[in-house]
Chain length 216, copies 2
Amino acid sequence: MQRVKVEKKILVANEEYAAKNRDALAELKIPCLNVISSPGSGKTTLLARTIRELKGKIRIGVIEGDLQTDIDAQRIMATGAPAIQINTEGACHLTAIQVSQAMEKLPINELDLVFIENVGNLVCPSAFDLGETAKVAVLSVPEGDDKPSKYPTIFARAKALLINKIDLLSGVDFNMDKARADVLKLNKDIKIFPVSAKTGEGMDRWLNWLGDLTKK
Amino acid sequence: MQRVKVEKKILVANEEYAAKNRDALAELKIPCLNVISSPGSGKTTLLARTIRELKGKIRIGVIEGDLQTDIDAQRIMATGAPAIQINTEGACHLTAIQVSQAMEKLPINELDLVFIENVGNLVCPSAFDLGETAKVAVLSVPEGDDKPSKYPTIFARAKALLINKIDLLSGVDFNMDKARADVLKLNKDIKIFPVSAKTGEGMDRWLNWLGDLTKK
C-alpha cells in the first residue's frame, strides 16, 4: 500500500507540472506532440523527415528523451531545427518537470509545433502526462501486427498512430488490416498513417494532419 | 527519498525470491535464461525455432511475460513445449515472485532448460533479477545499430546477445561491425550470435551454445 501511495504522490507532482506545461503551450497556441514507441521504430528518422518536409511552412522544435547519449538531438539539429536533449540516466520515461525545463531552453516563441520524442519504451511513457496536446504512437512493421493487442495502453490513448517502415512490408509478416482493426477496437477515433520515413511514402497525409493541427 | 526507500524494499523482496528460484534451479541443474528485448525483436519466433531445432535433444519449458493476452504462450505450446503465461496487467517487467509461481506450474523435473521471455522492454526488465542463470538480450536489425549505446544496461549485463532478423539486413541501415564494437565496449565477455529466427541462418552457433550450457 505504501508503494501505491508514493507512486500516487509522484504522479500528482507530475500532473502539476504537466498542467503548467499545457497552460504555457495553450497561451502560446503551440501544439505539442508526445511521440511514444518501442526503441528503433524510427521516431527520430520520422521527425527529421517531417522537419525537412515542412521547412518554411511549420517551425518545429524537438525535446529528445534518451537514457544516454545525445545521438538523437544531433540528428534533429542536423536538419536545422532546435533540439534539447534530456538524458534520463536509466529512467524509462520522461517526466513533466524535465519537459518544463527543456521548454525553457527552446526558442519557444519562434515555433509553431513542439515534438517530444519520449524514451523508446512502449509501456511506461504512456502513464506520464507531459502536458502535451496529444500523444502520437509509432509502430514499425518489423515489430509485428500483434503489438496493439499485446501493449494496448498507448494505442488506446494516442490521437494518431504512424505505422512506420512500410518499405519493409514485403520482407515481414505484418497484416495491415489486422493491425488497423485491433487499434480501432481500442480507440475508434485514432488517425492511422502508414508511412515510410525512409522513402517518404505515405507522409503526405501525416504532414497535412500536422498542418491542420498548427492552424491558429 | 521515501520513493527510494520503498523501491529498495521492493527490490530486496524481489532478490529474496530470485535467490530461491536460483537455488531451486541449481539443485535441479537446470539453466534458466531471462530473455530481454524491445517489443517485436522476435523473441517468441526465436524461442519457437530453438525449441523445434532442439526437439529430442534438449527439453525446454518457457515462462511467458506479457502485459496482456496469451498469444506468446499459445505460439510456444504449438511447438509441443510447455509454456506458462504471466500477464503483468500493465507492469513493465516480470518479478521473481511471478517466476517462482510459474515455475511451480511447469513440469520442471522433466526439463533441461527454462526460458523466461520477459515483457518487451529494453529498459525496466534488466533491473530485476528473476533468479536466472543468465540474461540474454535480443536486438533486431531494423531497430538500428545505435541501440547498444542508447540503452546500455541490458547489453552490459547479458551473457549472450542475439542480433536477430539478419534476413532484413539488405533493407535497413545496420552496421554489424559498429553494433558488435559498441556491445563489446560495454561487455567484453558477451557472446554475440547474428541470426535469423525466420530463415534459420546463424542459428547453429546459438544452438551449440545452449548445448554446452545444458551439459550436466
